[in-house]
C-alpha cells in the first residue's frame, strides 16, 4: 500500500486505485477517438514500418529454409569395390556412429547403385542393358547432423573418418559444400546487418511518429501540469495510447502480410514457373509474429516515454 500511495499519491482520491486505472484506459481510448486523424496516421506509419520488418523476416525465413533444405544433401560417401556382408556393415556402422556429427549411415549395394543410375537415365535405360552390377561400387552413405554441414566441419569429420581402419575411398562434394557454406554465412551476415538497420530505422520512425502525436497535444500536457496533475497521471494515458498504436500497427502489418502471402502461395502457381506451395515456402513462424507484436507494443511504450520526457519535466 505504501508503494501504491507513493505512485498514485492523493490522486487516487475517492475514486480509488481501480477507478484511477479505469480512468487511464478510458482517457486513452477517448484520446484516440478525439485525435483520430493523428492517431490513424501514427498507426499507418507504424504498420508500414512493421510491414518492412515482417517482409524482411519472411524473406529471411524462406532463404534460411532453402539453405537448410540444400544442406540436407551434404553427405559423405565411402566407396567399396566389393559388396560388404551384413556383419562387416554393422561393425563399420557401429564405429562410424560413435564419430561426433554422424546422423545416419546407410548401405547402397552394387545392385541398388545400378538401379539408381538406371533411374537417372530415364528413357535411355537401354544404354545400360547387359551391364553387370559389379561395374559400380557399393557404398556407405553418411548423413551429418545439421551443425556439421559446413565445409570446415565436413573436412574435420572426413579426416576423423579416414582414421578408421578398413574404411574405403571417401568422397564428398567439397566444392559444393564450400559454396553452400559461403552462401549460408553470407546470408546470415547480410541478414543480421540488414535486420539491424531495419530495426533501428523502425524504432526511430516509430518513436518520432509518436513524438509528433504527443507534440501536437503539448497544450494538454501543459494544462494538466498547471492544474496540478502528477507526472505519473499525465504520462499514463499517453503511454497506454502509444502501446495501443504500436500494437495496432504491428498487428495490421502481420494481417496484411498474411493476406498477401496467402494470396501469393495460393495463386502464384498460375503465373510463376514453379508452384510456391510445392516449393515449400513458409510464413513467418508463430514465435516471430508474437515477437513482432511485442516489439510494436514496446516501441510504442518507449516512443511515448522518451517523447514525454521532453514535455513533462517542469520542476
Amino acid at each position: 500500500m505504501g508503494r501504491a500511495k507513493f505512485l498514485f499519491g492523493p490522486v487516487a482520491g475517492r475514486g480509488g486505485i481501480v477507478g484511477l486505472i479505469g480512468y487511464f484506459f478510458r482517457r486513452s481510448f477517448l484520446n484516440v477517438r478525439q485525435n483520430l486523424l493523428i492517431n490513424a496516421l501514427a498507426v499507418v506509419t507504424i504498420t508500414l514500418s512493421f510491414l518492412i520488418v515482417s517482409l524482411f523476416l519472411l524473406l529471411y525465413v524462406n532463404l534460411e529454409g532453402a539453405g537448410e533444405l540444400w544442406s540436407e544433401k551434404v553427405q559423405v560417401t565411402v566407396y567399396y569395390d566389393r559388396e560388404l556382408n551384413g556383419n562387416e556393415f554393422s561393425a563399420l556402422k557401429n564405429v562410424i556412429m560413435t564419430l561426433e556429427g554422424t546422423g545416419t549411415v546407410g548401405y547402397v549395394s552394387q545392385d541398388a547403385a545400378l538401379k539408381r543410375f538406371r533411374a537417372r537415365l530415364k528413357g535411355q535405360e537401354a544404354l545400360l542393358d547387359g551391364v553387370p552390377p559389379e561395374v559400380l561400387p557399393a557404398s556407405l552413405e553418411i548423413r551429418l547432423k545439421p551443425a556439421y554441414r559446413t565445409s570446415e566441419a565436413v573436412e574435420a569429420y572426413v579426416s576423423r573418418l579416414k582414421k578408421i581402419p578398413a574404411i574405403g575411398e571417401v568422397q564428398y562434394g567439397e566444392e559444393w559444400v564450400r559454396r553452400l557454406t559461403l552462401f549460408m554465412n553470407f546470408m546470415r551476415f547480410a541478414g543480421a546487418l540488414l535486420g539491424g538497420f531495419i530495426a533501428l530505422a523502425v524504432l526511430f520512425i516509430i518513436s518520432n511518429t509518436i513524438k509528433i502525436t504527443i507534440y501536437s497535444r503539448r497544450e494538454e500536457v501543459e494544462l494538466l501540469e498547471l492544474v496540478g496533475a502528477t507526472r505519473f497521471f499525465i504520462k499514463m494515458p499517453f503511454l497506454i495510447e502509444g502501446m495501443l498504436q504500436g500494437f495496432l500497427g504491428a498487428l495490421l502489418a502481420l494481417v496484411i502480410l498474411a493476406a498477401v502471402s496467402w494470396a501469393f502461395f495460393n495463386h502464384a502457381g498460375t503465373f510463376l514457373l514453379f508452384n510456391p506451395q510445392e516449393a515449400g515456402l513458409l510464413f513467418i513462424p508463430m514465435e516471430y509474429c508474437a515477437a513482432i507484436i511485442a516489439a510494436g507494443i514496446l516501441a510504442g511504450f518507449i516512443g511515448s516515454l522518451t517523447s514525454l520526457h521532453r514535455f513533462v519535466n517542469q520542476s
Binding site: G13, R14, G16, Y23, L223, L226, G228, S315
Partner: protein
Amino acid sequence: MIQLHNVSVTYQQDVCALHGISLMVPKGDFVFLTGASGAGKSTLLKLIYAEIIPNRGQVIIDSQNISRLTRSELPPLRRSIGIVFQDFRLLPNRTVMENVAITLEVLGLGRKEIVERVTRILTQVGLEQRMQATPCRLSGGEQQRVALARALVNEPKILLADEPTGNLDDENKARVLAILKEANCRGTTILVASHDRRLIASSHKRAVVLERGEIREVHDGAR
C-alpha cells in the same frame, strides 16, 4: 494566505516585469489587481501558481515558499488553486463537460461525482445547454465561462482569475462577479486581474494598482 516579499521578476535577463513587489492577501480575501496592459498583472498571478519563480524575493503560499518546492510538492499546491487563464487554455478536442472535468479527474474523484459537480457548476455559469459542444463552437464569452467553471469546480482554496470578464456583456459580468463573490463567501481567497474599472468600483473590493512592475497604490474598496 498569499505573501510576496520584495519580489522581482525579469524575463530573459532584461525585461523587468515586476520590481520589488510586496503584497499580502489574507485567507478569504477578495482582491483586484489592476493596471495598464503590460503592468505585470499576469506575471504576478503566474508567481502564485509557480509557473514562474521570482528572480529575487520570496513568494509564500500558505507557508510554502514556491522557490523551494520539491517536485512532489508542486502538484498538490496547484490542485488547491483554481486558475482562469487570460487565454483560457481550453482543450480544443474535448467537450465543455470534459474540459471542466479535468480539475476533478486530477483529484481522482469517481465518475458519478464528477458528472454531478460539473453539471452543477455549468448550470451556475449558464452553460448547461452547451455541455457536449467543443470549445471552438462557443463564443469568446462562453469559453471564458467554461474556464471559470473549470477553475471553480473543485472549490479551490485560492482562485486566480486573469481578466475573467474581458469578453462579457454587462449582464454576464455581473453574473461572473456574483459567482466569484459566492465562492469567496464559501472561504475561497480570490485574486482577480482586470482592467475593468467599473467592475472593480462596483464590487467594493480592495484593488492593487500596478504600474510598470511596481505597486502604485492600493484602493481599499470600502466606501
